[in-house]
């Protein structure tokens, strides 16, 4: 009878709660200010800037070669693709045509980066909803890609393998074999992922119908990458603005229409298959030739503005360079996929419960340095 008394006298009231910056689901240093009524979320306000490093300001006094090295510190899980974005922007501005060999190698490594990022995401996603095993599985497979990168360019996380005009050095003689070995290995592992999480009843109950994003909202909020595509919004930069060797491969854009957390999960799983398919189409036919073209030691972009889009593991990354003709950019802006994807968090989690917020955040796949810059 004691409970009944409490229920009669206890008025429900809204109160604030801080989530993060140390909660596992916040992926680093992000604080969420939650307004909740009991367990129901009334408002989510992200508090950013804990690791803001003023990269845009630093770019204004750095040379273009130096800027490349700053970008992999942004989205460190898509480091190779970020580097490529700046290189492509500079190459387009200078009208440099890089050799075919470079284009193909860049694309193969892009897709390896995507697989590696999705593996980490898959592992952490499972952990966020309470399945620790996936964490080890995801890292086990990601490790093989890290080894390939280490052999290719000496780094495992912040690669700096792309330079304006090509690649830092040629690929290692073992490269093709190792990539093929990885593909064979990984093709047997994705079904394992499905057995562990995708077909798991508890997992499905945690994610189905949770954090639903309608297609109009996805476009309005500037969602991109798997977050947009899970809502049926066809937004793959690789399809609409192909770069490097993407015009010579065929692949399907992973699209789902439910827009919930489970759809975002399925899109990424499908993208693993698509990335493998892209690599398979390219790995046997890496053209012979140089791995870079000569560029000036001091790169000066002609006066004007340059915009380059690429598809990172999290969505559309835009590099916007305003040049006045000097050796530094006058203004450099990074349109990061993470910031737009985070801005819709409040919209899709209000009315849900805190546990749903954790699952939703995991499927948005936030990398905080990408947002803070």
């Amino acid at each position: 009878m004691e409970t009944a008394t409490i229920n009669n006298n206890f008025k429900s009231e809204e109160y604030f709660i801080n989530m993060g910056p140390q909660h596992p689901a916040t992926h680093g240093v992000l604080r969420l200010l939650l307004t909740i009524d009991g367990e129901i979320i009334k408002k989510v306000e992200p508090d950013l800037g804990y690791i803001h490093r003023s990269i845009e300001k630093m770019c204004e006094s750095d040379s273009y070669q130096q800027i490349v090295h700053l970008t992999d510190r942004m989205d460190y899980l898509s480091a190779h693709i970020n580097n490529e974005a700046v290189c492509l922007a500079v190459e387009n501005a200078l009208q440099i045509e890089v050799p075919d060999r470079v284009k193909v190698i860049r694309t193969i490594l892009d897709e390896l980066t995507r697989i590696s990022s999705h593996c980490l995401w898959w592992g952490v996603m499972g952990m966020d909803v309470g399945a620790l095993t996936s964490y080890f599985y995801g890292f086990r497979d990601r490790e093989m890609i890290n080894d390939i990168f280490e052999e290719t360019c000496g780094a495992r996380l912040t690669m700096n393998y792309n330079i304006p005009g090509g690649l830092m050095q040629d690929i290692h003689p073992n490269f093709v074999k190792r990539v093929k070995d990885f593909i064979v290995h990984f093709k047997t592992k994705i079904p394992e992922y499905d057995r562990l999480l995708t077909n798991n009843v508890i997992f499905q109950k945690r994610t189905k119908g949770v954090g639903v994003l309608a297609i109009e909202d996805a476009i309005s909020y500037g969602a991109s990458g798997p977050v947009g595509r899970a809502s049926g919004y066809s937004c793959d930069v690789r399809k609409y603005h192909p770069y490097s060797a993407l015009d010579r491969v065929t692949f399907n854009e992973a699209l789902h229409t439910d827009g919930d957390s489970f759809a975002r999960y399925l899109v990424r799983i499908q993208e693993l298959w698509e990335s493998i398919s892209i690599i398979e189409q390219l790995i046997d036919n890496i053209p012979e030739g140089e791995h870079k073209v000569a560029t000036n030691a001091v790169i000066k972009l002609p006066k004007g503005e340059y915009y380059q889009k690429v598809e990172t593991a999290r969505g559309e990354l835009g590099i916007y360079i305003v040049s006045t003709g000097t050796k530094n950019p006058y203004r450099m802006k990074f349109r990061s996929p993470g910031l737009s994807n985070l801005s819709l968090l409040n919209h899709i989690t209000v009315g849900g419960k805190i546990g749903d917020l954790v699952a939703t955040m995991a499927t948005i796949d936030i990398v905080v340095p990408d947002i803070d810059r």
């Binding site: 950013l48 800037g49 803001h52 003023s54 845009e56 300001k57 006094s61 909202d217 476009i219 309005s220 909020y221 500037g222 991109s224 919004y233 066809s234 937004c235 609409y240 002609p302 006066k303 004007g304 503005e305 340059y306 915009y307 889009k309 559309e316 835009g318 916007y320 305003v322 006058y330 203004r331 802006k333 349109r335 910031l339 737009s340 985070l342 801005s343 819709l344 919209h347 803070d372 810059r373």
Partner: protein
């Protein structure tokens, strides 16, 4: 729509294009650039989104630029129906008190991007529901991406 058609369509929306300082340019950029006076920005942006020939429903980048004398806000727009891209620019001449209309009601993504521009350039967006610093803390003094900003303690000036 080709750039020429876009240009004609947008010019037709205004009785006196010179009064709203409507200017088109493709020089030095891969996209069509449209400059407009800040007072008429919101109106044009609204039409750019709802008009069925332009249908710019995707604002993919919003940038502040400090040109020394004036501040500029640059909007990159794309249509998900037609896949054409256009750049809208608005220059604000008052550096001390820069104000421009918010487009947050047209594209929800502008909410965070405008807060970022406010944070770094001090540009105030009229009718923004929650205009406060995004990355820096509330008490931070100055606007770091302005060219005159210096911080002698923490900044290495090359």
């Amino acid at each position: 729509m080709t750039n020429q058609e876009l240009q004609e369509l947008i010019t037709g929306w205004f009785n006196d294009p010179a009064a709203v300082k409507l200017e088109f340019s493709e020089e030095g950029s891969q996209y069509l650039n449209v400059s407009i006076h800040p007072d008429y920005l919101h109106e044009m942006m609204y039409y750019l989104k709802i008009n069925r020939y332009t249908s710019f429903d995707y604002l993919f980048c919003l940038t502040g630029i400090d040109w020394g004398k004036e501040l500029e806000v640059v909007y990159h727009l794309e249509s998900t129906d037609y896949r054409h891209i256009m750049v809208v620019r608005a220059k604000i001449e008052d550096r001390e008190n820069p104000v421009i209309d918010s487009v947050q009601d047209i594209w929800a993504t502008a909410n965070f991007h405008e807060r970022e521009a406010y944070d770094f350039f001090g540009i105030r967006f009229k009718n923004h529901p929650n205009l406060k610093r995004l990355f820096l803390y509330e008490d931070f003094e100055g606007y770091p991406l302005r060219k005159e900003f210096t911080d002698e303690k923490n900044m290495v000036v090359k």
